[in-house]
Symmetry: C2
Subunit: 317 residues, 2 copies
């Protein structure tokens, strides 16, 4: 099993620079007051393709040799990685094929198409995604870029924490959402090198708590067809991400569906940024566990901003 190193992160940061935004850190005195903490939000909703996933996908695609790139790339993804891989392939001028569950949000399907990616739909289960992707790879010879179980992707996602550390300085804790664990793994990878004393919390929907159960049981627990408004967080850990989660994560904190939506609208209203439900889970768990964070400097990774505004989950109006 290929585990990425911090040198891979530094190489990724250099490689992807021309194709990604250096996203800003934002803060809100209102949310600081509400939480009792100082929260620095790393705004990957303002990233290319509207999500941090651009980092890992670009790192994988631009790390291919010309010969490898010739057969294109392929993946399965519930959404943002699909758009990100299509974007990366477009920038390199190669083909991308993406396997998506048929119930993936319209905005995320449209993103893939806008970057020239080819969509193949499947049932919304982990098994169906993986089988369909295997078939695509067998037929096309494409390089499979897994949304998170891929050393190149983890090294790419780790660059987000690298920038957060550079811009924010010393942090007492970092809170990031957990689905398959790619972002958290990258966060662990960078922080274990840059600031090993910073605590790392993963934030997960209670409705899709496979990582929470894994963490408490001490081994990967798989749960299929999980449902949550946080549509990016329904996937399961893999041994490569479990390696980081089990070694470096301080705790996994859960939030209910309504807590996630409340935190999402609070962010829209007070910070004036559009974040998707998955990105609201960290703020939801911070507001739910104030005693854990009171008086501290907290980094939060806002993972993405891709929402169907015409049909957004639980919209209040």
């Amino acid at each position: 099993m290929n585990i990425p190193t911090f040198d891979d992160v530094l190489a990724a940061h250099k490689r992807i620079k021309p194709y990604i935004h250096r996203t800003p850190l934002l803060s809100s005195s209102y949310l600081d007051q509400l939480s009792g903490a100082e929260i620095l939000f790393k705004c990957e909703n303002l990233q290319k393709v509207g999500a941090f996933k651009a980092r890992g996908a670009v790192n994988a695609v631009f790390g291919l040799s010309d010969a490898e790139a010739g057969s294109g790339v392929a993946t399965h993804s519930s959404g943002n990685h699909a758009g990100a891989l299509s974007y990366a392939a477009m920038r390199r001028g190669i083909e991308a094929t993406v396997v998506m569950p048929h119930n993936a949000p319209t905005a995320k399907k449209a993103a893939v198409q806008s970057y020239g990616g080819r969509i193949i739909e499947c049932e919304p289960t982990q098994a169906a995604r993986e089988a369909t992707l295997a078939q695509v790879v067998a037929e096309s010879g494409a390089d499979a870029v897994h949304p998170y179980d891929d050393a190149r992707v983890i090294a790419g996602q780790a660059t987000c924490m690298l920038e957060l550390h550079e811009d924010a300085g010393k942090l007492d804790a970092v809170v990031a959402p957990i689905g398959g664990g790619g972002l958290i793994s990258g966060t662990c990878l960078s922080l274990s090198q840059l600031s090993p004393e910073t605590r790392i919390y993963a934030a997960e929907p209670a409705n899709a708590d496979d990582a929470y159960q894994s963490f408490n049981k001490g081994e990967i627990v798989e749960k299929d067809a999980q449902q949550s408004v946080a549509d990016g967080l329904k996937t399961n850990l893999k041994p490569r991400t479990w390696h980081f989660v089990s070694s470096y994560v301080t705790d996994i904190l859960l939030a209910s569906e309504s807590e996630i939506l409340d935190a999402m609208y609070l962010t829209w209203e007070r910070m004036k940024i559009i974040i998707e439900p998955s990105s609201a889970v960290p703020l939801a768990v911070i507001l739910k566990n104030r005693e854990l964070f009171r008086g501290q400097r907290i980094g939060v990774i806002i993972t993405g901003g891709n929402v169907d505004l015409k049909n957004c989950p639980g919209c209040k109006s």
Copy 2:
């Protein structure tokens, strides 16, 4: 008539720094492609109080002597200046009284209250606002800080263009919304010093086109009780802002109500930031007048992000 100078702008920038955010410039390759121009958005929706108005209000309040400040400040405003003046007064520890039309958006009334400002409601006409404010000033001895017809306020708003120029470098044109003309006057003041060859376009709702009519007639045209979704842009020019508009503005461009809302939702969807309708008028006029901007570097000032999300104007859902 006291016309602010560029030295006043530099003094304002130094004075207000501890109380405002240095807001980021954002761009969108999608909107660049759509418009055929390179657009750099100065995001004052991410400013303190959610609007550029924090700049002028803080400059006015912190420029007062202790003796002057003792009687507090007062103003009339359809919204963001009211919140901004309350914020500035709170930071200085003095009282703020704001006269607001009774139909001002709930979010903007709530903002005033959250900063400890006192609201006095009036009819939604220019005359009623001014008469009510005069009464407040007579009774309290408060320093009246007009939302735009005030040299201190114009110098404060001018700091926005100062930062945009520092961060963006050379621009072919700048487009900003026009209501009473405070922001445009500040923009003219800074650009006439920093980059006199940059063209300045004011963007106005066709439903509230008093500045457009003034510009074409060559003298101030007053229109009362104008109605537009761009609720911040319904006010009329004054001689002090007309001085700048008539001397430095290249043209005033109009957008319809639906063009404004389309541009607002496009910004929400593609840039992942919440902007209020008034802030969408520049993008609306750029998309409507592509030939005027094609191939050029354009600065756009996103003026604010205060929207009632539960009851937003023309919401699609």
